[in-house]
């Protein structure tokens, strides 16, 4: 099953670290709101980078 990054909004501190490392332009920080789009291939790089542990991979 393909995977995608998902964000736990209750943990996210809207810092943009995940946006800085995504190669596919698959995420955007809209002020305090992180959006992950269909470009995401579930590489997991952002998951490793998130300082809050707010990201994980889930099957789509």
């Amino acid at each position: 099953m393909p995977k995608r990054a998902v964000v736990d909004r209750r943990k996210c501190a809207y810092c943009g670290a995940c946006v800085a490392v995504c190669n596919l332009n698959a995420n955007e920080l809209i002020e305090t709101y992180l959006e992950i789009n269909e470009n995401c291939n579930g590489c997991g790089i952002c998951v490793k980078t998130c300082p809050m542990g707010a990201l994980s991979l889930a099957e789509v």
């Binding site: 501190a13 809207y14 670290a17 946006v19 800085a20 490392v21 920080l29 002020e31 980078t49």
Partner: protein
């Protein structure tokens, strides 16, 4: 048609907008947040000197002043860097919520238009320059400009869209978590740095006092080496170090530790600050370089407008300026960072022991390395040439 559109109202962008507007340019500064400066993504430390170069100091945004720094290695060895004369402050801890707004206001005062809650989505080339696509309160908006300055921080999309920078690898970014804590029992005359591979893989923990028994207590780790999220390392550090205080604010963020990029320009475009990976690979400090880069970008923008030359080859003047100012330091400190990353905790301890108790009078990476070299001649072969 604007002369310059600046994306991002952090220190880099506001300084660029201010400088360009002071030169008489028609400037638009856009910021995606509704409140400039919040949420803070910074430990707010800066040397007095590098701040004074670009702004008039105003106590309103100085939270605390310090006279030196103390560094600790895993076995508790302490290295102190301090000015000789007590009371001679060398460092500031800022209140960036106020500082960043102050800079944006200076830009506005100089004549720049400032628009908040507006995001730059992209740009396309036109005959005379660029058409920048913006989203303002959910609505599309387009503006034309001769020059675009990307000061959009670590998340920079402008730089990537322009093909100037590549996305950071997880070995090129520090993932950071920080609390503002109150009710602390610390000597507020110093900033504190804690090193160790267990404690903060590929990074360090810090305590920067903010006055009235409060401080920024934070940590940065390299995601390529870390086994957990930065926040967990921070909680563990606070517990192990026995830091007692109340958490009154949460901060998360990331800092590029890339080193010097080859160029920060493309036709009609300049990048400055974290967007150009201008933060220091050893300390993670980026405010001073962001101010400097913004200033130089603003100056070169006015020259480009005067000459009607917006080509990358003309804008390379900006590269020359920031590289001469601090680019060389990014290059050197990247090499040092690579050296330090290879050290295990016991080597770190013994290096610190070799200089513990020495009188290091300056608060800088340079001063530490000079002292290390003086006491460990064997290191000369490793990085002597970087400091000769």
């Amino acid at each position: 048609m604007f002369d310059v559109v600046v994306v991002g109202a952090g220190p880099a962008g506001s300084m660029a907008a201010k400088t360009a507007a002071e030169k008489g340019l028609n400037v638009l500064l856009i910021e995606k947040r509704q409140e400039i400066g919040t949420p803070v993504r910074c430990a707010e430390g800066i040397s007095k000197e590098s701040l004074k170069r670009f702004v008039e100091i105003d106590k309103k945004w100085i939270a605390a002043e310090v006279i030196g720094a103390k560094i600790y290695t895993p076995d508790g060895t302490e290295v102190v860097m301090a000015e000789e004369m007590a009371g001679n402050e060398v460092g500031f801890v800022l209140e960036r919520k106020i500082f960043d707004r102050h800079l944006a206001r200076l830009a506005a005062k100089a004549g720049a238009e400032v628009v908040v809650k507006t995001t730059a989505l992209g740009f396309e080339r036109t005959q005379n320059g660029l058409r920048v696509k913006l989203r303002r309160l959910g609505e599309e908006w387009e503006v034309e400009t001769k020059l675009l300055i990307g000061a959009d921080g670590v998340e920079s999309k402008i730089g990537r869209m322009a093909g100037i920078i590549k996305t950071l690898k997880i070995s090129e970014i520090e993932s950071c978590a920080q609390y503002l804590m109150s009710g602390l029992d610390i000597d507020e005359n110093y900033t504190y740095f804690y090193l160790g591979n267990e404690l903060a893989p590929g990074g360090y923990a810090w305590i920067f006092p903010k006055g009235d028994r409060s401080a920024n207590v934070g940590i940065g780790v390299l995601p390529s080496l870390a086994k957990m999220a930065a926040k967990h390392y921070l909680d563990r550090f606070i517990e192990k170090a026995g830091i007692k205080g109340k958490i009154v604010e949460f901060v998360a963020g990331a800092v590029p530790v890339y080193g010097e990029i080859d160029t920060a320009v493309a036709d009609n475009i300049m990048l400055c600050g974290d967007a150009a990976y201008h933060s220091d690979p050893i300390t993670g400090g980026g405010i001073a370089n962001a101010l400097s880069a913004g200033y130089h970008a603003g100056l070169v923008a006015s020259e480009a407008v005067a000459r009607k030359d917006f080509s990358a080859s003309f804008l390379k003047r900006y590269d020359e300026l920031w590289k001469a100012d601090f680019g060389w330091k990014l290059r050197r400190n990247k090499k040092l960072q690579e050296f330090f990353l290879k050290l295990d905790d016991s080597t770190l301890n013994s290096l610190a022991k070799s200089i513990a108790g020495k009188n290091i009078k300056e608060m800088s990476v340079q001063a530490i390395i000079t002292e290390l070299l003086r006491n460990n001649p064997s290191l000369l072969g490793l990085f002597g040439e970087l400091f000769s």
